[in-house]
């Protein structure tokens, strides 16, 4: 039984398009029709652009039609301003291509997740250090002549506010009227080595049930009325994935070929995790640092993409 089948049978969402493609290809042994891929390298990593071209590919991939850009940089795990700059520059360039907005367009940055729970704090962390200018455009426009109007917001999580993130964002969108939303969210990966080292940028927003805190309502063009660019970084691995990988590896050693019902083993694992059902996470001890490192690269990328004429000191400020 492959990991893909296990995840699929147990309705575990795969957040990264790159992982979805790899798992599906691994399970089927062939290319996915309607999915185009392009690969690039840069000083500190690689960039993979996956395009889901038609509804059939959408159905197989379990992700909406659109473009998914994945930056992989294993060095991002270490606290290195050089790597953060390098990744940020690559992110800026790809983000700019997706954004396609005029200089006058207002941008709303949304930091999803819960700042009180570290592995879920990526969004609020990015918002905290964002370069914000909208209030200056309204009250002292001469100070921000070289800058676009940008505002940023962290809507919290349903369990703390009692309000869906999507509802809150809709309310703000109606007041601020941005041309585009950039939504930052912590993701779950199936591969441990991706934690803190992979950044996905997508132009299809955030689907319901995605991210570390499953959202009930999507945050996308359909629900917001404006394009939503999603930027995500895996910060946890589902504990069920660890269990499944262990079983797979064990079967390899022992040569065990007994066919197993995916749903059955899913239930078994769920039984195992019952006391904290749904909320048990696997994360590295240094997750706080990983989030700061990735957050800095993302803030550099967003700042460069939104404000091409940013002063050096303002750009450096989002890095600290």
């Amino acid at each position: 039984m492959a990991l893909y089948e296990f995840l699929h049978s147990n309705s575990i969402k795969i957040d990264l398009a790159l992982e979805a493609r790899d798992l599906i290809r691994g399970a089927t042994g062939r290319e996915i029709p309607g999915v185009i891929e392009e690969k690039q390298t840069f000083r500190h990593g690689t960039v993979t652009i996956i395009k889901i071209m038609d509804p059939k590919a959408e159905a197989i991939m379990g992700k909406p039609q659109g473009t998914y850009i994945t930056i992989e940089s294993p060095d991002l795990r270490f606290k290195s301003p050089e790597v953060q700059e390098s990744v940020g520059d690559v992110l800026a360039q790809h983000l700019k291509n997706l954004l396609k907005i005029s200089e006058q367009a207002t941008v709303l940055i949304i930091g999803l997740g819960n700042w009180q729970a570290t592995p879920d704090a990526l969004g609020p962390t990015v918002v905290k250090y964002s370069l914000i200018t909208r209030h200056l455009h309204l009250h002292m426009p001469q100070m921000v002549e070289n800058y676009r109007s940008v505002c940023a917001f962290a809507p919290g999580v349903l369990g703390i506010t009692g309000i869906e993130s999507a509802e809150i964002i809709q309310g703000i969108v109606e007041k601020v009227r941005p041309s585009v939303i950039i939504a930052i969210d912590a993701l779950a990966a199936t591969n441990i080595s991706r934690l803190g080292t992979t950044i996905q940028i997508g132009n299809t927003g955030i689907a319901p049930g995605s991210g570390v805190n499953n959202k009930r309502i999507g945050i996308n063009f359909q629900t917001m009325g404006v394009p939503v660019i999603a930027i995500g970084v895996p910060t946890v691995v589902n504990a069920a994935v660890i269990a499944q990988m262990a079983v797979e590896n064990h079967n390899k050693i022992t040569g065990n070929r007994t066919p197993v019902n995916s749903i059955q083993i899913g239930q078994l694992i769920q039984e195992l995790f019952k006391p904290f059902e749904g909320s048990l996470i696997v994360t590295p001890r240094e997750i706080d640092d990983l989030i700061l490192n990735a957050g800095r690269a993302i803030n550099r990328g967003i700042t460069l993409a939104l404000h091409p004429r940013v002063a050096r000191e303002d750009l450096e400020a989002v890095l600290c």
Copy 2:
């Protein structure tokens, strides 16, 4: 030159109705027409109810017509669950009188201020520990049969989001459609002994320019379309007030009677504080603890007022 004249001449807002009344009476030497007052005592303090009855009294007091209830409890400064309970019970009773809503009415709690700056963190702190039920009413109503629908939100501050708090709240109000808003905010006092020991409840919302972070737009019935109950606690004293009080005291000792131009000394003091103009605060070193103590009393009061049938364990949970 009295403190009142000094504040007035230099357009420094007085957040507490009780202080406004005392300062005006001190300056004029007589009762303010159109202002009614009632005083009560309880185990750990006193309650003063001030009603501003007509537009003339509104103009003199510099505060909108309405009811202002001030709970003073010097013991609230110390970390004492007993005092927190006592103050919370008194707050609950007065809050209930102001609320006048049906059991079915949804309530939105708003925590104004910046959780990153301690003296301004009262609102977000109260929100963090609030008893939230709206999401359960939507998804598992049987769990919250004895509870009203309540949601809570901290909109942050203009300098961090680029969006006015009032705009954000308006957006949320349009989605959530609450019957009433309870807005929590840190206040400035003119008297040091009030820091962390005085709670004001008012039914006129929050005026523009009030609170520790001066809001540009008011948060009140006019801007929100629903009644706004404001709950505030002084956490800072304006540094200019310290200066002014020192001068007054000094004049008393030296018998100095030279008449001084209020605006002139205001400018002098402003000059003194120039490097951090507007942002220099006077606060006790233990401000974090003061905010936690007052926050617990407020959360107990709100919980008892909103959920009369609250289980003992849920009530205790907002205290820890």
Copy 3:
């Protein structure tokens, strides 16, 4: 292959005496000679007292000779002051039995771990809220007539200070000259349901290699020259344990009986976790709350055990 053999073969330390006993009995099918056990119940849980009586039992159990008291309270997971009080009272009574010190004896509370990494923050959290009196005994003795002299300290972790916790504590012990040390530490469990719900009190201190941050040097009578009472709560499960449990369960379903080399599967799992080797933790998302809940129960227990004549308000203060 049983979990015990797996842990043993891969030199994974079992922090809880109760788990060690259960796993060894499960593997061997019989009682462990030289290990005495007693069980009690209380309103919100059970207490198991395990005594390791001789060197042979010490070798089998992998834990030094002494007394290990385990309080199990599944309700401790929920934010309930009532449960915290109940568990704290039971803890106080057993702690008092272990302490056996005069009223004049000074006690040093040590909070091991890293306050910046949530699952490791139990020790510093307990220290933060401890009732400290040593400085008052030195400078205003009349204020603390009813209280013992207590000081508390969090030595941080090797990776942040560059100094072993044990070295720092030795230095402080030489200055403070306490009669006994109470050391608080976060533990690892093999059973998910123990996270935040089990408290172990032992009179043998902390062995090298124990706890969430493996200490190189033990913190015990041998290294400190005074008795060390250890109080611990499991906050993480080793990811390898999850893997191993999944394999075991899978084998049960598939009836796989191929004998597997423990070391071999240990290596496989290590390979799987390589990118964050040693530092990958499994923890519930709500770990912050679990630590606060357990920390409050521990602080109540310590306070009651050390200060039998504590005033109600001082006792309540450590709960908030």
Copy 4:
């Protein structure tokens, strides 16, 4: 009545040698014998080196004989990596001159103060981001060939631990046996414009009663047995100073020349501040940011001074 006389009469310690000199010169109108001064400028500020040469100068200045280097950089207030680098480089050069230690010497960095109270958190903040190598020198020496052995520690404050900072440091010094201590501490200034913008480096350690938290025992060569270099940044202004300055300014305007007893007005001001006596602080709202900015400059300076062959990426890491 001059500010100096006021401070002197009321036993308020002046932390900055530069301010002491200015106030004494202002009060006496002439140079202080036995005090030598040298001034330099750099891209983002000035450096003043004050040497107190003999016991007579020591008595007048109220500070022990030794060297006090004051870096003033008004731009340090703004979040600018360029300024932080510039100030850090200047600090490194002067620190190196004071240190005079061999490459093999171990250095102990001590972060005084309370990380829970922002204006007092400078020391713990610097420790948190320090480049620590002592544990690597002990366990993997080949990794740190180009680095000196450095450890770092934040002893907390008396009110939280019940133990004097000096006692704790003595205990650690006896274990670690450093060649020199670098102690970081938040200071009080008499001039608002110094908050977060002035760094004092001195080779006489920390006198009793200095810093934001008055220490009872000094941290200096006499108490520690090794040289203590102190690095401090003002983060608060004593509220009494604000009061005094206001009175002075007021007297200037009104031409009031009534002679006032310094002690008398000191008592008056103390009366004014009674409810939070001793603990009322005047600080800018953005104090968190000021501490981060100054902390980064200090960490760069210390790192460059201690590790001349530091790799670029390690140096950058202490800045983020």
